[in-house]
Symmetry: C2
């Protein structure tokens, strides 16, 4: 049995508890939280909840600690700190800062003989793997990542910060014409605006200036200004009835040429359609926790990413069975 | 530079030469053939062609030997034999015999300190990887493999053996309704007939009994009897004008559930659309030749499959660059 612990029990932590339950070779042995442990309600009430500050006291009870914190402020601190006492996995997803995070985590993990896998999930994660296989197999080509249709938490939060907004959901939507061109192997050059549109569902306060809210959204730099954005004002009831899910997904496409004159086109598409973003992310993390446990048992230490994990180390079945039935 | 040699120079061997040319860190140093070397015309005329029987004389000139033979009779003999003198890769694709082939090759490779990767290509190969990642990430689920639309050489050959047939092409085609159900996450149980149809284009001898040929095709056990098959008689000119390509592809779909009551459905799809089956297969093999060379340099020996290769070992870029740009 692989003994799993979770640090941080929000949407992702809860998804991780569910994912561990789906894997008969894993057992959730502890949850660590910054909240008062009495207020943390795990799905399985027999799982002990401890203060995060006491985590190190339980290090010998845990094979892999899954850190379910935010990338902006939690993980840059938590992952290197916890890698001193545990084998850890995080889902750090600030793409621009991955190299710096890797260096910090690598030092802490190596010094203490642990393995630490960062940026595990679907993007970064499964999408990164698809990009790497794609460029390796078709070196003369181009790759494209489309996200959606799905809820972007960051963009939804940005709308909620506008005065007069009670609640909001933002869906990122790939532009069908752009997807079609890429799937046809055309290798187009696409601007930000040509790849995705943004659909917003906004609940405004009574008497709020809706025109001003719409302008504030559509002109918001980085988040919306570079996109074709539509804003729909809806009631709180509509939001609760139709927009409470956290679906997401997207597609990574590698389009490449072979032949003496590049006369043959090949298109590789890796597509995810997810009802629950945090539950799928947690499912990916659980599989990589298995790999982390196996790799650490073989003496591997330091920071690793999904690129460093041979697929067989993720598998719930043994290598001979995988060769016989999946190869 | 990774020094590559090719054993067997047919469609796959020629595709491998093209694939090696696309990878600036690889160089084709030799072709070994059972034919008279003078009759083998490589794309690059400066590449030396030697009799296959003399291959061992050149073992110190080669880092990885790519064996481009057939799975029925060539590879079961050639791969274990050549693994004594070389690091090798093959594309053995008789799924039912992979375990036996693995055992033979493993013994030969280990005894001689070589690495031998078998069953590299797209199915087995990239599709196998997709199946393994899928079951690891979504353990509560089902997987589906659809092939096509593409030319099946085995089925085309089977038609050509019928008396009165001059030439033929058989396309394997996924049934759109089945694909739709699977993509929608329904996890249907599908019979052979419900998954694929078979489209045949046949050139008959003048005066041949076309009705008899059609019956012979449609009732052929294993190949056609379990499928809805359509037979189209065409002229040799039409065949040459429209059916000379070797396109193929297909899709691997993993559909799985998460949530406390399995209330969330997730669908992972890995799809290939290939203009040239042998050139894409060869492109996959070239990437795994890079991995074989790197793994052997680290001391790895014995038989390996695509499951044993960490994605980073395939990459034409270094790990720090991959983390910075692809993760």
């Amino acid at each position: 049995m692989i003994r799993i612990a979770i640090a941080g029990y929000g949407n992702l932590g809860r998804g991780t508890e569910l994912a561990v339950q789906k894997n008969p070779d894993m057992k959730l042995v502890a949850v660590f939280s910054r909240r008062d442990p009495k207020t943390v309600k795990t799905l399985d009430p027999t799982v002990p909840v401890y203060p995060l500050a006491d985590a190190a006291k339980h290090k010998d009870e845990v094979d892999v600690l899954i850190i379910c914190g935010g990338s902006a402020t939690d993980l840059p601190e938590m992952t290197p700190a916890l890698a001193r006492d545990f084998n850890v996995i995080d889902s750090f997803d600030t793409h621009a800062n991955i190299s710096a995070h890797f260096a910090n985590v690598d030092a802490a993990a190596k010094e203490n003989g642990h393995i630490a896998m960062i940026s595990v999930g679907w993007d970064p994660g499964m999408f990164s793997i698809a990009r790497l296989y794609g460029m390796s197999v078709l070196p003369d080509g181009a790759d494209y990542t489309f996200w959606g249709r799905g809820v972007s938490q960051g963009h939804s939060d940005a709308i909620r910060r506008i005065p007069g907004v009670l609640d909001a959901r933002q869906y990122t939507v790939p532009v069908p014409q752009a997807l079609e061109k890429v799937r046809a192997g055309e290798q187009p050059t696409l601007s930000t605006r040509e790849k995705h549109t943004r659909e917003c569902y906004v609940v405004a306060e009574e008497g709020a200036d809706k025109a001003a809210i719409e302008t504030a959204i559509k002109t918001m730099p980085n988040y919306f200004a570079d996109y074709d954005t539509t804003v729909n004002f809806i009631s709180m009831e509509e939001l609760r009835a139709h927009h409470m899910g956290i679906p997401h997904g997207g597609t990574v496409i590698r389009s490449g040429k072979t032949g003496a004159d590049g006369e043959n086109t090949h298109v590789i598409e890796y597509k995810l359609t997810l009802d629950s973003n945090p539950e799928f992310t947690a499912s990916v993390i659980a599989a990589f926790a298995r790999a982390a446990s196996r790799m650490h048992a073989r003496g591997v230490t330091g920071c690793k990413t999904v690129f460093d994990v041979a697929p067989i180390d993720l598998a719930p079945i043994d290598p001979a069975e995988a060769r016989a039935h999946l190869l």
